[in-house]
């Protein structure tokens, strides 16, 4: 068991090394060589330490996990003892108190975050927060299809795109205000979802994935080519099209724009979470799970599987459409390039790594997968270059993507069921043991 963990971490490290070395392991150094009158620039190849460092980190993480697992056992044993000792379940109460305290801390932090510093200073972080909430919305929406109903949708960004364009165009051309726009954007995405779903939901797994992938790309090209309405690659709005995208009335005046968007997106997240929770415990939610588990058996239970799958599609698209409207209103100008395939993949990764089907898991997954690349892009390189000038030749910036990918792979290896798995996910992953002690 431990040996295999050791082996796994070692293999992961070697694998990371193999992957990153060709990309970032060898760099060039240019030195000016002055010989007498003339100076030549001599280029030499240098070995960069980055990939090795990365592999080391990967290995260390693996080992750390080795340490964490037995520790978890000890905690379990102690907690079981404690539970037995306090006949009235005193330990459980403590666990509850700690959990509630943590929750409260998170809620307070999330609510007060925009006010930690002056608006100027905080702006960057508040904007980051808005992005996180937008991705949380997307991940929550996609969770309905992938996590609950078991439909692999690979072109999810298309619905986000439709919401954004429908709102931007109607707002510019007809002066559609924000709040009705939110509904219209969501509904348009929803209708697109239904239109896509009706022919393609009769297909199984892999085919559905491919069809939705194609749909995502088609919508993007459509926006590119419908130049007269969407401005094509010039984006919306542009010189030819007068008018601006309307922002919510209460936001347009007054300076703290990003704070307003922060709370707008946060509110949407809260509403969607509340609705999804209701849904998850309803007949519909149960039926979705049954479809995911065994579609034929679900049919035999009298579930109209086709209708319910279309419904899952429509709802999931609605959430993405709303997110698109907020995106358009906030950013004010965008091109079809904002809706690339990578975004769809990222959201899929958020759902899977967060914990398919689990609402807290999906939120955590979205936040983490948006914050990790950001951290690799901005604060970490800055921190390193100011505090460890010697790290200069490591060139962290060169392989953010490799590091990000490595982190994703590690998460998949060490936590295949997701960050915060849903209660149901644990069964196949052989976690019943942890399950029962929960």
């Amino acid at each position: 068991m431990y040996l295999s963990r050791l082996k796994t971490s070692f293999l992961a490290a070697v694998w990371i090394l193999i992957l990153t070395f060709p990309l970032a392991g060898i760099g060039t150094r240019e030195t000016k060589v002055v010989t007498g009158e003339e100076s030549t620039i001599k280029q030499e190849l240098v070995l960069r330490s980055g990939p090795f460092l990365l592999a080391g980190v990967v290995f260390a993480c693996g080992l750390l996990w080795l340490g964490v697992k037995p520790l978890g056992r000890v905690i379990h044993a102690v907690s079981r003892r404690a539970r037995n000792l306090s006949a009235r379940g005193g330990f459980m109460i403590w666990k509850r108190v700690v959990l509630a305290g943590l929750m409260l801390a998170v809620i307070v932090a999330v609510l007060s975050m925009p006010f930690w510093g002056s608006e100027r200073a905080m702006r960057k972080y508040v904007d980051l927060g808005v992005e996180v909430w937008l991705y949380v919305l997307l991940a929550l929406g996609l969770n309905i299809t992938i996590g609950w109903t078991g439909l692999l949708v690979l072109g999810y960004v298309a619905f986000f795109c439709i919401g954004a364009y429908v709102y931007a165009i109607l707002s510019i051309q007809c002066g559609l205000p924000f709040w009705p726009g939110l509904l219209v954007g969501g509904l348009s995405a929803s209708i697109a979802g239904i239109l896509l779903g009706i022919p393609s939901l009769r297909l199984r797994g892999d085919y559905l994935a491919i069809v939705t992938l194609g749909f995502g790309e088609t919508i993007r090209y459509l926006m590119q080519n419908l130049k007269s309405v969407t401005g094509g690659m010039q984006g919306l709005p542009n010189q030819d099209i007068s008018g601006t995208i309307a922002v919510p009335a209460w936001i347009s005046d007054g300076p703290p724009r990003s704070v307003h968007y922060y709370f707008l997106t946060l509110t949407l997240v809260v509403i969607v979470v509340l609705l999804l929770r209701r849904l998850n415990n309803s007949r519909i939610g149960r039926a979705w799970v049954a479809i995911r588990e065994d579609e034929v058996a679900a049919q035999a239970m009298g579930i109209n599987t086709f209708k319910l799958k279309v419904l899952a599609f429509a709802l999931s698209a609605f959430v993405a459409g709303m997110a698109g409207v907020v995106f358009a209103a906030r950013i004010g100008y965008f091109t079809p390039d904002a809706f690339k395939f990578e975004t769809s993949v990222l959201v899929v990764a958020m759902v899977i790594l967060g914990g398919m089907g689990s609402i807290p898991g999906v939120i955590a997954g979205a936040a983490l997968l948006w914050l990790i690349p950001w951290a690799l892009r901005d604060p970490i390189p800055r921190f390193l270059s100011t505090h460890f000038p010697a790290m200069e030749n490591v060139g962290i910036e060169d392989y953010q993507l490799a590091i990000f990918g490595g982190i994703l792979v590690l998460m998949m290896i060490f936590r295949p069921q997701g960050l915060i798995p849903s209660r149901r996910a644990s069964y196949e992953m052989g976690l019943e043991e942890e399950e029962e002690s929960r």
Binding site: R283, V296, Q299, M301, I303, E432
Partner: protein
């Protein structure tokens, strides 16, 4: 109650049912026996509407059901415990049973029926909060039957309830089937275990590569040389 008339059904080009006709009357236990690949499961899936009928008619209580989708057929009162159990592995026992009652809305009666199936299979009561996938094979089979009962079917279709179970568990399940029938349930039973099925049933059909080749009372089939040689290993 259920009448199949000249039913053809196919998977792509492979014709699995080549014109079968059979009949199940109210209050009966009727069994369908046959070798592997004869088309027994296909017959049940076709009755349920999961497989499409290519030709022929199926009627239930005098009403044509052969072109209805499965979820409507369940509402008419036919439910199936499919081959290989096919319970929902990540739903608990209770949730599986509730899924079985999906078409019903009478919450109170559903609660009573859950108690009733727990009475039939007491082990399920003990395991009520366990995930379906973690039950033993026999427990899963009991759950599959119990789940089919939760729809309060007028006609219960059972596909090889004895598959892979110890004789003592099989006996228990057959006992339960008999009990159900005594209380008025009509049962169409597909079985490999021909001897037990014929002992339990009133009438039987023999299916060979998509065709019904024999059709008689269960007792007559038990005594028939052909059946004995082919299915009873005598």
């Amino acid at each position: 109650m259920l009448v199949l008339d000249n039913i053809h059904s196919a998977y792509g080009k492979i014709e699995a049912l080549k014109g079968i006709s059979l009949e199940v009357n109210e209050g009966e236990i009727v069994t369908l026996i046959g070798a592997n690949g004869a088309g027994k499961s296909t017959t049940l899936m076709t009755i349920c509407g999961v497989n499409r009928v290519k030709q022929g008619t199926i009627s239930f209580k005098g009403e044509r059901i052969d072109s209805l989708p499965p979820h409507v057929i369940v509402r008419k009162g036919i439910s199936q415990a499919p081959e290989g159990r096919r319970i929902f592995p990540r739903l608990t026992v209770i949730e599986n049973l509730e899924m079985g009652a999906f078409v019903r809305t009478d919450a109170e009666a559903i609660g009573k029926d859950i108690e009733y199936v727990f009475g039939l299979f007491p082990i399920l009561r003990e395991r009520r909060q366990q995930l379906g996938g973690t039950l033993s094979g026999g427990e899963q089979q009991m759950l599959a039957i119990a789940r089919a009962l939760m729809a309060r079917p007028k006609l219960l279709l059972l596909d090889e309830p004895s598959l892979g179970l110890a004789p003592i568990v099989v006996a228990k399940i057959f006992e339960a089937i008999k009990g159900l029938n005594r209380q008025g349930a009509t049962i169409f039973l597909v079985e490999q275990n021909a001897r037990m099925a014929l002992k339990l049933a009133h009438r039987g059909y023999v299916l060979e590569t998509g065709r019904i080749t024999m059709n008689d009372t269960a007792a007559a089939l038990l005594n028939s040389r052909r059946v004995q040689e082919a299915y009873l290993g005598a």
